[in-house]
Symmetry: C2
């Protein structure tokens, strides 16, 4: 079979690898229908995060179950499934608390090895071995129409992550929301905020195509200015108050500073951008304004069922974030497109 | 009249000062029935926060309205009132959002001067001029029994602040809660958590008298170890999980690190200790665990009405945090008692 390996900065290759195997009775093998490139894949791709040996990459997929281990009960061969970017057993205390990302038997796809030492596949591949299949996979009753595949694929990560930002920022019906970051996650955050009933949604974006998609997803206003000046512009736009809820979907010190400055006293920042700054949060400034910060790595598995319902009935169409599609063989081009920002998000078809 | 002034490190004096005056039509003058010393008063008292000129101090009081300005409608001379530690107009956008501490016309008692330049009294005095009296004061229908005075006085700050920690940490019925800090605020946090229905409440404390009061207020367990080791002990006590909600009621880097380490994945830290550390919050560690942080300077004015009901009907007795009482003339002794930890909290009677 073929799988994608990252060899070093901007050196990404589809290679022949040994066939996917059932390593434990709780594993399943899934034939990938669609995978994609994540903004977070660009950190190692760009060398910001070092790659010491060729590493399987990719953590988003939808596919068809090919084979299941002897202990798997929840999915069956031939079934269409969604895999969240973190696998989890589904019944440890953290999974029961709906924080599957902290599962005691969990891990992230494409991270090389699990804590137990077993290898873990990346999802930009033809086949993927899924650990903890019963806890991890969400199976559909019927194989969906192919046009739904992109939206279903977003439930693996970006739509679930945007939703996590919105939930963490306590977006409720009537909220005023600002979204920092116009990548696929930020745009999904706009859609999630609208879905939760936000009344006013301001997207920070300086790219016409992303602004257009943000508006389509429910943004009522766009602010082009970045950083603290952008936050000031937002506060003016909102009558001098700041937003009730701000979704931080980038992960830099600047974006977090912008998010904090854009939040009204008593409001919340929901953050899902993987933090790449050196400094911590400015607690003293937060203290005076009563601005809280919550979020983190999104427990996508917890959110898939409710979001899935809305995708299947057409209420939301988050797959619109995929503006480029590539054959898996052209995975290097898919990365280049995202790296050079000619794509918001690249979909891959084996 | 007499008022307390801080002259420099550990130099606190009751002095003759000009009588309290109505400076604006929205002011009221209150004759102090009881005031007290706050843990946060100890920062300037100890010289950690510099005092450049003799400064009125104290920000907690209950009293009887003596005189009101021409624009005051909500309270009348002779009425028993509670003043939160921050005055506020009650109808700006932030007050309507219940974050009175961000009031556009607000300020804190004992801070010297308001943003407008007008002088603002401290509450450790015989009389206090209250700015924005209608927005600030909560008047009682009847003058309460004197035995209720200590509990009513806690609504000015510590009980409201403990409640803010609990609300910010999202304590709900059935929550498992840990409280960092066994001062008056931490103990009030224990009581607030019990009042909100927490099932298990672990108090961090190494002082027998405070442990006893914590248990009386609802603590089910006590952990004596501090810092990260204390957090580890807590996690073991809770079966390896950490608390759903942790109340950080100290304000040092160590106490915040302890609070974060004591929180389960997906849990919240509610923080009300005035931050005195240099560093910010460790965002990357919070990200992986999905631990959020909310809180800040407590909008006591927002909470007084609901807490007042419970004090008046005897449901809660937060005044138990006052274990020493002093005449206002002995204010220096009241500070010494708290500085040397021979008192949890010192009450002052003019």
């Amino acid at each position: 079979m073929h799988a994608t390996l990252l060899h070093g900065p901007r050196d990404i290759r589809l290679e022949q690898v040994p066939d996917a195997e059932l390593l434990e009775p709780t594993d399943a093998i899934v034939k990938v229908v669609a995978a994609c490139v994540c903004g977070s894949d660009l950190w190692p791709y760009r060398g910001v995060k070092e790659t010491t040996e060729p590493t399987r990459i990719g953590h988003e997929l939808v596919g068809i179950v090919e084979e299941v281990g002897s202990a798997v009960r929840g999915v069956r061969p031939g079934q269409f499934v969604i895999a969240p970017f973190v696998y989890s057993d589904g019944d440890c205390v953290h999974c029961r608390n709906k924080i599957h990302t902290s599962c005691v038997n969990g891990g992230v796809f494409g991270a090389g090895k699990a804590r137990s030492g077993r290898p873990v596949d990346g999802c930009q591949a033809e086949y993927v071995t899924i650990p903890q299949a019963d806890g991890t996979l969400v199976g559909l009753d019927e194989t969906p129409d192919d046009r739904l595949v992109p939206s279903l694929l977003t439930l693996s990560d970006v739509m679930a992550t945007g939703h996590h930002a919105a939930v963490s920022a306590r977006v409720v019906a009537g909220s005023t929301v600002a979204v920092v970051g116009d990548g696929a996650v930020g745009l999904s955050g706009v859609l999630a905020a609208r879905r939760l009933g936000a009344e006013r949604i301001v997207a920070f974006s300086r790219h016409a195509d992303r602004q257009a998609l943000a508006r389509e997803f429910g943004a009522t206003d766009v602010v082009e200015t970045r950083g603290r000046d952008g936050a000031k512009e937002l506060v003016e736009l909102l009558g001098g108050i700041g937003a009730d809820a701000v979704l931080e979907c980038v992960g830099t010190e600047e974006s977090m500073a912008q998010a904090l400055a854009a939040t009204r006293p008593g409001g919340m920042v929901g953050y899902v951008g993987v933090p790449h700054g050196e400094d911590g949060l400015p607690l003293q400034r937060m203290f005076g304004k009563n601005v809280g910060v919550a979020g983190g790595v999104a427990p996508a598995r917890a959110y898939i069922p409710e979001l899935l319902t809305d995708v299947l009935d057409g209420t939301i169409d988050p797959g619109r974030v995929f503006d480029r599609e590539f054959a898996l063989a052209d995975v290097a081009d898919a990365y280049t497109a995202m790296d050079e920002r000619t794509a918001i998000k690249s979909l891959l078809r084996p």
